[in-house]
Structures are given as C-alpha cells and as structure tokens.
Subunit: 500 residues, 2 copies
C-alpha cells in the first residue's frame, strides 16, 4: 500500500465512526425519539458534526491528499483508493470554506428543521415552515457560494453533490426531452383510463397482514434480514450504518394495498444496493453512493421488476391467499393493469411510472428558480400549484398535498430530486443490458430473484461510488447515459397495456 | 461564573455529545440493530470511545480542574459546579492511566461481548461465554490496578464507581445484617406459603393487552411520553440521552401477568428519576446518577408503591375489566397477596421483595472472590449453584437459570449489583420519611401519583449526582443510610400478609 495513503487510514476510520453516529442519530430522530427530545439531541448533533468536520479539514489530511493527487502518486493507487482520495478532496473542498462554528450551527439547525417541517405538514401550515425553509436556503446559498468559482452556478454545484456531471446543461435537455415524449403519451393514456378498474386497491387490507406481506416481499427480492431491519415512519426511506446494517422504513394504509408494497420494493432496492457494497469499501467515503445510481436501483426493483407481470405471476396467488375473499375476484391480469394504471396525481411518491418524472421536473424547475434568485419562498406554494396545473392538470387543495409533501428541502437536500428521474432512466438502461445477458423474465417467473440481485451486485453494487454513474454505465454496458431506453420502455409498455 | 469554570464548558458539552452518541449506539444494539451488524458497529464504537476519552484526558482540562480544586476557587463554585468538577476529576483519574489505544480496544470488545453473552444465554452454553468473561475480568482488573493506590482493594474501587462510600467495609456488615434478619423470616413465611394461591398469574394474558396495560401504568405513575419511549427487549432496562429522552424496555410473557407489570413499574421509576433531573444538570457529568440512589427510585416504585394495596385499589378494577373473565374470580385481596407471595427462586429479576436481597448477596460474594483472585472463571457456575442452594435452598438446572441470567458482567459492570440491595433499602428509608410529610396511602387511593412524583423530584431527582447517596439522604431525612427501615418494613409487611 502507498505509504502516504496508509497515513490517511486513521482519518478514514474516524470519519466513518462519526458518520455512523450521526446517521444513527438521524435515523433515531425519524423513527423513535420522543417528541420533546429535539433541541437537546440537536445540540449533540451540532457538536459531533463540528468534530466530524475537523477529521478531513485539517492540514495533515489536505497535505496527504495533495501529495496523493500528483501524477506520480496517483498511478500507484488502486481505483478504490483513488476514489477515496477524490471523495476526501471533495469533502474538504465543500467544508473547508465554511467556518466550523457555522457548520455546527447549521447541523444543529438541520436536526430540528425536520421536526418543524413535519408539524407544518401535519397541520397544512406552510407559514410555519416558511422561515425554516428560508433559513435552509440561505445556509445552502451561503455555504455553496463560499466555494463557487467565478461563473459557477450555485445550483450546478448542488446538483453535482448528488450526481457528478449531471448539471443544468445536461438536465435541461433531459427534462425537455422527457416532456416532449411523455406528455402526449400521458394525454393518450388518460383518454383510455376507464379501461382499467383499480377499485380493488382501496378495499380494506389489515395492516398486520400487509406487514407480513411486505416483509416477505423484501426477503423475496433479496433484502437480508441478518444485515437489515424494517421500521415504520410517515415517509418510507432507507439509511445505513455500513453494509452489515441497512435500514428501511415503510408506511401502511389500511385502504391502500399498493402503497406499502411498492414502498418496500423501492426501499428494498436501495437496501440491496447498500448491502452489496464491497467489504473493502464499506466504512470509507467511497461507500457513499451517487444518488442517481442509488435511485436507479430502487426504481429498477420498484418498476422494471415490481410492476411486471413476470414478477407477480408466482407471487400474486400468495397475495390472494393472504387476503382471502378481498382479492378473490381480482385476476392477475386485472392486478397487473391496476398497478400500472397511469393517472395525473398530486403526490410524487404515489405517482405511477408514467407521470412520475413530471413530478420531479416541477421540483427541478423550482429549485433552479430558488438558486437563481428568481423567486421568494412566500411565492413557492403558488408556483408549485401552477406547475402542477400546467404539467399534470391537477391542483392541490392544500399545501400538505402540495409543496409540503416532500421532506427533502427540510433536510437541506437541494439538487437531490433530479436523481429520481435520472435513476428511473438509468434503471431502464440497465434492464435493457441485463436482458442481453440473463433470461430476466424466466428468472422472475421461476422466482429466482437472487440471480438478478447477484448480477446487479457484480455490475453495480459492489463498486459503491468508486465510479460515477456515467463511468459505471460505460463500464457495464459500453454506452453512456441514454434516456431513450426509458422512453422506449414506457412507450412500449403503455401502448401494450392500454392497447393504444 | 468562575472564569476557569467557564473554560471547562466546551469540554463538558463535548463530553455530553459523545455520551449521547455512545448511549444511542448501545441502545440501538440492544433493541434494534440487525444480527450481523455487530463487528462493524463495534469498530465505530471503539473509535468514538477513544475520541471521547481525550475530551477530559488532556492537559488543559486537568490543569483547569486542578486550579478549580484549590480552596480559593472551590469557594466560588455552586454545589452543582463543584460536583461537575469532581466528576470530571473522577473520570480523569479513572481513564488517564489507561493507554487510549487500550481503551479503544476495550470499548470495541464491550460492544461485541454482550452479543456473545446473549447467544450463550440462549443456548445455555457457559463455555461459549467463559473466554469473554475472563477477558472482561482481566481488562477490569488491569484498568483498575492502573489507578489503585497502595493498599486499595480492586473491588472497593469498582464498588465506588457505582455508589461512592459503599465499600466492602460497609457492605459486609450490611449484607450480614440482612442475612441475619431475613433468613429466619423467609423460613417462617415459606412454611405458610400454601396460604396464598397465585395460580391466576400464569393464565393466558394476550400480549397486546399487556402492552396497553403497561403503557397505562407507566403514564399513571408519571412516565412522560413526550420525553420517553418504551421498547421491547429480552431484559428490561432503562437508558437515557438526556432529561428529554429517556428510554425503557419491557418484556411480555403470555403466561405471566406480573412480569411485565413490575418491570414497567421498576424501569418507570428509573425513567421518572432521569426525566426529573434539573435542566441545568442534564448533559453534564453530574447527570450521571449514582446507582444506589437510582435503584432506590426504581425499587421505590416497584415495591413500596407497586406492591401496596393502596396503589392497586383504584387500578385493579381496570385490570379486571381489561382481561375480562380471566381475572373476574380473583379479588383485589387475592391479587395483593399474589404479587407479594415470597418464595425462594432462581431468577433475581423475578424474585419477590423478601428474597430479592439474597440474590444480590450471592453476586456480591462472587464478585469479591473474583477480584480477590480467590476463584477461576471456570469455577463460577459451580460456586453460583452452591450459593443458591445454601442461601435460598434452590438449585439451577442449567446455567441459563444460573450464572448466565444477568447481563451485567458482559457489560463490564462489576460492583454494580450491591446497588440493587442498597437501593431497595434506601427506598424504605425514603418512604418512611415521605410518610411523615405526605398522606401517601391516601394519595395512592385517590390516584394522585403526581404528588408522589413531585415530592421525589423535589427531594431526589432534580439533584442528579450533585450529592452522593448518603449526603442526599442526610439532606433530605436528617439521617444517614440506615437499613433498619427496610428490615422493619419487610417484617411488618410479611407478618401482616401471612398473619404470622
């Protein structure tokens, strides 16, 4: 091992230990902590964040990283080591311009902001959330401006934190292309929507049984319960301490069967990714996966696998048995049509596969406006509603089903949303490649999901963020990111389903 | 504020932040983490423990503490500040002799030892646990020897970590006194045990209802659900991040009603204590309560309150209603006799009030032998069983109901057990004092538990560990620790219950 790189190891370990603690504190706040714990726990989070800040932001680390970045040294490093050095440098560049005290205040603020957001969402009161959002935007602008070079756009820098290379220059044409291709298809589909009867989905499904089903589905697609747990929250999400401790949450509605099913398959896809990261990468900065690729795995399982007839053929009879007479009059064919029914709707996480990307586009456009200083926080609810009207033809009746539906901004995650659309598109590209190598449909019909998981592990999961999304795609498929796979897939699928 | 003390504040905050993270990591490992998470999470715990080690073990802190310990400066400090300085000094004295690397290894070892213990307990396999126990004892002996002054006994130093002042010199006569007074009483009671029919306790009680009941009881005695949560584990316990986040666990057995009820009242008593610590003390070293006083509060609620007729008079009808016909033939009087029935038994946590202290005495005697180098780890199961035979007339059939029943040694908590007996005795002393000031029985009959909680908060809880147990007793009652209250209470109670 490179002698300089070796000197970095204690810092890498230390960074990972703080990461574990802070991830757990955040998980705990979301899932379990009592209502009044907020302020005092946030104080601890602030202090630990400042401690964590100093792990990479110090003279020794930057000197080691600089030495390791010279041509002579870089040649001696493995791909993994090189990516770890690059990630440390990125972290250093991002943090070192922020005064540590300010970073601590920000971390403490973040740890309480989500609770204020959740309360505002519950009561539908945007004005309660507005000052928090304003402060979060101000922090984000200030912190990003600290490191922006001349001519660099704040929003581009934010976007690159989640998926390097996918800046406005790439995303503007990407979304324009989607809009151009998908909006006419959506219109056509909607004219035929009476063809699909989905009323069965809103019957009564006991929550205990739903939990049992969802745990079964998680295990069925490859979630390893020795390395993971499933808890309950208002909004499903995934987090992980390392590749032997990955956690997902789910939410169960008595009168909506689909919601929990597709949440657990989506989050399960994320979890399978994190569980599959190589042991040599976990607990290093290269285990922090780029979000476009991360979302590609969750959307792969949720849509390409989870909404296919081949997946449900062996599983649907179990569902019918589990819920007795409630589903006995619903055929597999009706169920498959039901879970694929496309309808413009208000809530992103509940959206069907066809309209989903438009929800993401709306958020992308608003974020661009925010960071180009083109709108005030107070205008956001109105702008949100206008865009929903324009692109999807539906209007929120209140802010809970409008701008208050997503927690991301309350977590300081600006620039994250495009990853959902990118990931969805990448998923189709990976699926097309996989079909060339594996008899995917047959495997699904035979319930051999482990072969699919192993394929993804081999080509994607094990690498963590050693490669960025585009590099990994090229290594795997020989081709750069190409959204046409996604558009073709949707066109073929919906033309077939709706017999257009 | 004293200028030197002010310089200590950032260290106090930082120490508390690490404490929060490490407490949460430990809680999470016990309650939720997936089975295979152990080793990687333990690594993070080791690293964070070493980071935490350096917070107080450094030149600036020790210089500040030394300056603050001079007569001139000490006068300028409040009781709280003085106790915080004293606690920092104690932590420093305990840690500074241990090399930091060794401390990290120890912390990492501790984080995995409990899992090995739990597995050994499940399978009844002491030999799986023996090497862990040996290593834990070796660490404890070595770490304690580092700081032992000439003539100081290792076990005395361990005892004082949990309850200052209560060394072998105090505990030997304390246990001898208990033995002398209680053993004849136990013999007499046992001869009349057919007077009490407790068979109802082993009927079938649905776990969902038990949970509902236990949550009600927790709230009834004063557990604040805005500041606390209740989870489930094999062994009930209490932990806390600060006075706004205190957590207890419970365990439910379908065929044992009492177990969960008295666990939740016991742990609830601990939790009420931690929730009642003053806001100025929480997140400081003076919030770490001495264990004798801590156990006094749990045992106060469990026994003095929870096993009294006055407590159950208003509550028992709810129980009967909740469990329908299962309890309809059991009168309040039979229930009160049932929950107080004394029988020599094998499991400490399930023991009745009368025989409980003998379980503690057995552990005390074994710990003394261990740290006086009078026995080998391999001999412990046999010694354990012999002492149970001798003092309680019962013999474990396997190590799960013998030496493997307690998790404490696997946590490195040697010297803790006596706190249970001390706390039990202190509880009676506090009760006797409370009776002079409050119409306790009337309050219980009227369900006014909050007045009892407020009394304890005023006299005990708010102070955390600003005072040690004996000082607090003197401040409160005007009298030093006196176990005769406890003995008198048991004699009176059992003579009455058994009409001896």
């Amino acid at each position: 091992m490179n002698r300089l790189y070796q000197k970095l190891l204690p810092y890498i370990e230390k960074n990972s230990a703080y990461d574990t603690a802070l991830t757990l504190l955040s998980w705990d706040t979301e899932t379990l902590a009592p209502p009044d714990a907020g302020a005092l726990t946030a104080k601890a989070v602030g202090i630990l964040s400042e401690e964590a800040y100093h792990v990479f932001v110090n003279d020794e680390v930057i000197s080691l990283v600089e030495q390791l970045s010279t041509e002579k040294e870089i040649k001696t490093l493995s791909d993994t080591e090189r990516s770890i050095v690059r990630h440390i440098k990125r972290t250093y560049d991002r943090l070192s311009h922020i005064p540590p005290e300010e970073y601590r205040e920000y971390a403490e603020f973040c740890a309480t902001a989500q609770q204020i957001y959740c309360h505002a969402k519950q009561t539908g009161n945007f004005s309660e959330y507005a000052p928090v959002l304003e402060k979060m935007i101000a922090y984000t602008k200030r912190f990003t401006a600290y490191r922006a070079k001349k001519g660099e756009k704040i929003y581009d820098l934010l976007l690159e934190e989640y998926e390097p290379g996918f800046t406005i220059k790439v995303l503007d044409p990407f979304f324009a292309h989607l809009k151009e291709e998908l909006v006419p298809l959506i219109r056509k589909v909607c004219r035929h929507n009476d063809k699909i009867d989905k009323s069965y989905n809103y019957r009564s499904f006991p929550i205990g049984k739903q939990k049992k089903l969802c745990n079964f589905l998680a295990g069925y697609i490859g979630f390893d319960f020795n390395r993971g747990v499933i808890s309950e929250t208002e909004h499903p999400f995934t987090t992980g301490l390392h590749n032997h401790d990955v956690r997902i949450t789910n939410h169960y509605y008595k009168n909506n069967l689909e919601s929990a099913i597709f949440s657990v398959i989506h989050e399960g896809g994320h979890a399978i990714y994190e569980m599959g990261i190589a042991d040599t990468l976990t607990q290093t900065p290269a285990a922090m996966i780029t979000m476009g690729m991360h979302e590609s795995q969750s959307r792969f399982y949720e849509n390409l696998i989870g909404r296919s007839e081949a997946f449900w053929a062996p599983v649907y009879p179990k569902l019918q048995k589990m819920f007795g007479t409630t589903l006995s009059d619903v055929s597999l064919d009706q169920f498959i049509h039901g879970i694929n029914k496309a309808e413009p709707s208000l809530i992103r996480t509940e959206a069907d596969e066809l309209t989903y990307s438009l929800h993401v586009m709306i958020r992308y456009e608003l974020e661009k406006m925010i960071f180009n200083d083109e709108c005030e926080v107070s205008e956001l609810p109105k702008l949100w509603n206008q865009k929903y009207e324009e692109y999807l033809g539906v209007t929120p009746q209140n802010d809970t089903e409008g701008i208050l539906q997503d927690i991301h901004w309350a977590m300081g995650s600006f620039g994250y949303f495009p990853s959902y659309a990118l990931g969805t598109a990448i998923a189709s590209q990976i699926y097309a490649f996989m079909e060339k190598k594996l008899p995917v449909e047959d495997l699904l019909r035979q319930g051999k999901l482990s072969e699919i998981r192993e394929f993804l592990r081999e080509h994607v999961h094990q690498y963590g963020s050693v490669y960025d999304a585009n590099t990994l795609l090229v290594r795997m498929t020989g081709e750069e990111f190409n959204p046409d796979y996604y558009i073709d897939y949707l066109k073929e699928k919906y033309t077939r389903l709706y017999q257009l």
